[in-house]
């Protein structure tokens, strides 16, 4: 049913990055052009939202490599976002690189002890516990008012700078997001490809993998920390876009969105999260013009895609591409085609 991460769909199993990783990196690199190519605020804002959603969804993708479905994405996004907001407000830190590193490292560090506690849980228990984490986060943000600004959140951060250049208008904010998304995709790609065999073993059967000498907990802990860090990058980008770190940006039900992006896009490939975010964020903005019908239309879309494309949109696309390819190849070279699939 699912696309195995060890075998690339297009057949470059031996190389470090498969075609999917290259395309994902290329897409995010290409998005750097948008801030220079247009001043249309809707396109800028939509790209911004998609990249943030896609980056956040990547952490769902990473966790699914270990067969763990995580609802904790908003928790770590909030950690990343609030960290950068506090650095800007309290210490006057504005450098994009420093803030970016902080937004990755802080959630990752928090994830390590947390992971030690909850990574023993499997399947649905893990799902539900990560859901509880998002609820705890909301209450902590409220109760820790002096630090987090409580229900009102934090506002008034200084604009982010890159080598001393202020990045404050809409297209510059998008540039920051592009940079963070690129780091997120690159980290995810390197990490999931570097450990693809270990993850495949954990995903299939972690008890067996453990008994064959694979220290599963170590990979899981690192995976959880990396996923948290990638979420943190998305949180930074979100706070930077909205010019505010507000508890309502990290609500527990928003976690469902990130999971939806990844599953609808296709959980077997890094491209799935990006494609899912692209499609669903666009659809959601479009449906928002339909007023109170919007959640219903969104619901119909999710069901239809799930039924039509059980491997996600990427699964559907690769199936079509493969079909086209194999016909082309068969026409040209009738014999050699199964070697790489």
């Amino acid at each position: 049913m699912t696309l195995s991460p060890t075998k690339s769909t297009f057949g470059s199993g031996q190389r470090f990055f498969s075609v999917h990783e290259w395309i994902a990196l290329a897409v995010v690199l290409a998005s750097f052009v948008i801030p220079f190519a247009t001043t249309n605020p809707q396109i800028l804002s939509l790209t911004n939202q998609i990249l943030i959603a896609g980056t956040a969804a990547l952490s769902v993708y990473i966790m699914l490599r270990m067969d763990l479905m995580s609802f904790a994405v908003p928790t770590f996004m909030a950690l990343g976002g609030y960290t950068t907001a506090l650095l800007g407000l309290r210490l006057g830190v504005t450098d994009a690189i420093v803030l970016g590193i902080a937004s990755f490292v802080v959630p990752a560090l928090v994830a390590i002890p947390l992971g030690a506690l909850i990574l023993r849980l499997k399947g649905v228990y893990f799902v539900l516990v990560t859901f509880v984490l998002t609820e705890i986060l909301q209450l902590l943000l409220f109760e820790l008012g002096p630090l987090t600004g409580g229900a009102n959140g934090l506002v008034g951060m200084p604009a982010v700078t890159f080598f001393g250049i202020e990045l404050s208008d809409l297209s510059q904010v998008l540039l920051t997001t592009c940079g963070l998304a690129f780091v997120g995709v690159l980290t995810t790609a390197v990490f999931t490809r570097r450990f693809r065999y270990e993850f495949a073993a954990i995903e299939k059967n972690d008890v067996l993998a453990e008994s064959l000498g694979l220290a599963c907990w170590r990979y899981k802990a690192v995976g959880f920390a990396i996923a948290a860090g990638v979420s943190g990058l998305a949180g930074f980008a979100l706070v930077n876009m909205l010019l505010t770190a507000h508890p309502s940006s990290f609500s527990s039900f928003s976690s469902v969105n990130y999971i939806t992006y990844t599953v609808v896009g296709g959980k077997g490939s890094i491209l799935g999260s990006l494609l899912g975010a692209g499609l669903l964020v666009t659809a959601s903005d479009f449906f928002a013009l339909r007023g109170e019908l919007s959640p219903g239309l969104f619901g119909i879309l999710i069901i239809v895609v799930t039924l039509v494309a059980p491997d996600g949109l990427i699964g559907l696309v690769s199936r079509i591409v493969r079909k086209v390819f194999s016909t082309v190849i068969r026409h040209r070279r009738p014999v050699q085609q199964e070697a790489c699939t």
Binding site: M1, D67, L68, M69, L117, I118, R120, L121, K122, G123, V124, Y125, F126, V127, L128, V129, F131, V132, L133, E135, I136, L139, L140, F142, E143, S252, F253, V256, I259, T260, V263, V264, K267, E292, L293, S294, P295, G296, L297, F298, G299, I300, L301, I302, I303, T306, L307, P310
Partner: protein, 288 residues
């Protein structure tokens, strides 16, 4: 002293309400392996159907409630056979389908009944008082219905052939089908039973509290909490956990306040899971 007793009674009422909610949720998970994101939606559906039959059509409340249970069950049956059955083997797809269905349901409630709460009073309004201690009769009715439902589910799952088949199928669907069990009829039946229970809870509880299209969200969150604490798929676990959550919520909210009380509850669940990763009475985890 009165305060402690009152908080205890509140805990019992909350527990009864939560037990009813969690029963259906844990059944669907235990038998079908589906985390039903539309569970809260069926709770709201039960509320609106009861409201429609009793307030708009003028039927007696008890009959309206019965029709609402059947209606919620029927919709659950259709959802399972027509949509869910196609993706039943992939737990992430079932999650997506139930989530999408929940969004559609909520939208339908807003469009049909409007966003505001209608006038929908419970037929029994009296309160029993003794000194500073009080207990609304309505809560007593919820408690009794809840106990009856628990007994009924037990009887069905552990004492009937249908129940034995269901339990067998929950272990291994293919083997059970090979042995001649009709998964094609029994799975939708189980789903209908669970959504019917959610509808029953909604029809019973929303007139005591309130009925608006979006009350399904917290219902889902509460069901989550109880079912994790009790151990997924365990009827006993869910029942026990429901009353524990009710009690903890009551005492912590009374003595710590609404916000800190909720925090205490969540932390408790977290601690229990860290100590006992499969919940209080859970079996081994299924794939999510």
């Amino acid at each position: 002293m009165d305060g402690i007793i009152t908080a205890g009674l509140i805990g019992v009422s909350l527990g009864a309400q939560y037990a009813l909610l969690a029963l259906g949720f844990t059944l669907i998970f235990g038998i079908l392996g589906v985390v039903n994101f539309a569970h809260g939606g069926f709770y709201v559906l039960g509320g609106y159907l009861t409201y429609y039959f009793s307030a708009s059509l003028g039927l007696p409340y008890a009959l309206a409630l019965l029709l609402a249970v059947l209606g919620s069950g029927l919709l659950g049956y259709l959802l399972e056979t027509l949509i869910l059955e196609r993706v039943i083997k992939d737990s992430q797809s079932t999650l997506m389908v139930t989530l999408g269905f929940y969004l559609i349901m909520t939208t339908a409630f807003v469009v049909t009944f409007g966003p505001e709460a209608p006038q929908f009073p419970f037929p029994v309004t009296g309160v029993w008082r003794h000194g500073g201690v009080y207990f609304p009769y309505a809560n007593l009715i919820v408690l009794m219905v809840s106990l009856l439902a628990i007994v009924f589910v037990y009887w069905l799952v552990y004492r009937t052939n249908v129940g034995r088949s269901l339990r067998a199928m929950s272990e291994e669907r293919q083997v059970a089908s090979a042995l001649g069990m009709r998964t094609k009829t029994l799975f939708p039946f189980a789903f209908a039973l669970a959504t019917g229970l959610a509808g029953l809870t909604g029809g019973l509880v929303t007139p005591i509290l309130s009925l608006t299209p979006h009350i399904g969200d917290p219902v889902l969150a509460t069901s989550f909490l109880i079912v994790i604490l009790g151990g997924l798929g365990s009827v006993t676990g869910a029942t026990v956990a429901a009353f524990i959550v009710g009690m903890v919520e009551a005492y912590s909210a009374v003595y710590l306040g609404g916000s800190k009380g909720a925090l205490a509850l969540f932390l408790l669940v977290l601690v229990v899971l860290v100590v006992k990763p499969s919940g209080l009475m859970g079996k081994e985890a299924r794939k999510a």
